[in-house]
């Protein structure tokens, strides 16, 4: 999630552009919910996650075409799309008897209880396979922060890199969602923390991943300690912390504008 956040934030040049803000995570979670409720009984359909994320991203693209050129529009349309997909997910769940829903409802809030290595192993393997691609896009991605014109002047194939980065971000975010559900705000907070820790790095992908992992572990531990002996979804804690962070970001922006 941290890595996906870093990819999209850097691409769109806006801290608000993260997979959970623009509907990618909601699309992933909707697909998993639909498959879990209607199509596969028994098995956890984690593999539906990238499918849903890709469909959500395709819808986003159909609605606003080029991400680099109009970052703000991209985010606003993404938020609307995110709401819509979330509502569809809620609707899908509401058609089922409550007794069936328990675990899946908690999962859509970002919950790690009951996650088994049956899901984690294939996801981790796929993430590992994507690592060389990450290394490949890291430097051109950093150059995109100087705008399309300057990046191209320095020899970057801008449209190709944009497309590749976006595809990577979608797959990585979807794989992250597949495990513990759409845990929100990790994707926003982790790259901010990473950039703060590594000032000289214009696109700290690996550090963002690490920060994301640490933030999630921290939130999960906090939730367990606070809610003992109950189990509360971790996503509720990240949402709480993330909400505070978002408010802080927006207020800082406003102060900058004043």
């Amino acid at each position: 999630m941290g890595m996906a956040g870093c990819l999209i934030q850097t691409l769109v040049r806006n801290r608000l552009a993260t997979p959970d803000m623009i509907g990618v995570n909601e699309g992933a979670s909707l697909a998993v919910v639909v498959f879990a409720l209607y199509l596969t009984l028994g098995n956890w359909p984690w593999w539906a996650s990238p499918l849903g994320a890709a469909l959500a991203a395709a819808a986003l693209f159909a609605l606003c075409r080029r991400p680099g050129e109009q970052g703000y529009l991209f985010i606003v349309i993404g938020i609307a799309l995110s709401e819509l997909l979330g509502a569809l997910g809620d609707f899908a769940m509401s058609t089922q008897p409550l007794a069936h829903l328990g675990s899946i409802y908690l999962w859509t809030m970002g919950h790690f209880a009951g996650v088994s290595y049956q899901t984690v192993k294939p996801v981790a393997l796929l993430l590992l396979l994507l690592c060389p691609l990450m290394a490949l896009v890291n430097r051109p991605l950093a150059l995109l922060r100087f705008g399309d014109a300057t990046a191209q002047n320095l020899g970057v194939k801008v449209p190709l890199v944009q497309l590749g980065v976006l595809a990577l971000a979608i797959v990585v975010a979807a794989l992250g969602t597949a495990i513990g559900g759409p845990v929100v705000f990790i994707a926003m907070a982790a790259p901010i923390l990473a950039s703060w820790l590594a000032r000289d790095n214009l696109a700290p992908l690996w550090l963002s991943a690490l920060c994301g992992a640490v933030l999630l572990l921290g939130s999960d531990t906090l939730v367990r300690v606070l809610a003992q002996p109950e189990e509360i979804p971790t996503g509720i804690m990240t949402r709480l912390l993330g909400g505070i962070l978002l408010l802080g970001l927006l207020l800082k922006d406003r102060r900058g504008a004043d």
Binding site: R145, A149, Q152, N153, L154, G155, V156, L202
Partner: protein, 277 residues
Amino acid sequence: MTALRAENLHFAYQDKVVLDDVSFSLPRGKLIGIVGPNGSGKSTLLKLLARQLPLQRGTVEIHGKPLLGYSLKALARELAFLPQRPVLAEGIRVEQLVQYGRHPHQGWFNQWSAEDARQVARAREVMQLDAIWQRSAASLSGGQAQRVWLGMILAQNTDLILLDEPTSALDIGHQAEVMEAVHQIAAAGRTVLIVIHDLGVAARYCDELIALADGRVQAIGPARQVMTKALVDRLYDTDVDILPAPGDGAPVIVPRRRTRALQQPTLREHPETEGMQ
């Protein structure tokens, strides 16, 4: 020796023709200015040459080889382009920004070489960036920031340098600072093609000028020969005086007031306030 040759360039955004049959060639090691009124196609021409826009019709050759024959990275070793409003990545330092100019010369297995360090050190010296080398680029004045961008372009170490109005947002002090820097780059043997809004600045610093209007080349040649009253009047649809500057005789262009405006009463102080503090 020709650094760049453009022939029969034609460019249109949908139905609107921006460039129409533009041809010229750039001699190596000269500072060449593109002047012309707003909307005459100056920036579009520069973007075409830098491959920021697709060639629709016509040919561009760089060092005798077609523009599209270069990979983007190979092109970035021959030609550097500074856009009109380059984007500063938040929090970046001057040193880093200049170092990024070396990107086209680096690959997977040669990440940072002695040559890279040499070129960056040269860019730092020529652009006089010593005092601000460790500063955050966002904290610089307009003139300093432009010098830093030029430093990055210089570190790129290309024969051809295209600059899109690098002085447009600057006051005259910073304008002179940047133009002196550009002049120095050309004097060191680079071919610099620069879009300039200010005719006086163009005539003073450039070796040659290309005058564009309505997407066509209206005049081309040595700067002081091109800059005539007849041409300026025609280009800008106005009436100007051209006087020699006291120092070096460079043409200074002053638009005349319309006759009607001259007859209007002038603003003057009230006599009763004269002599008061």
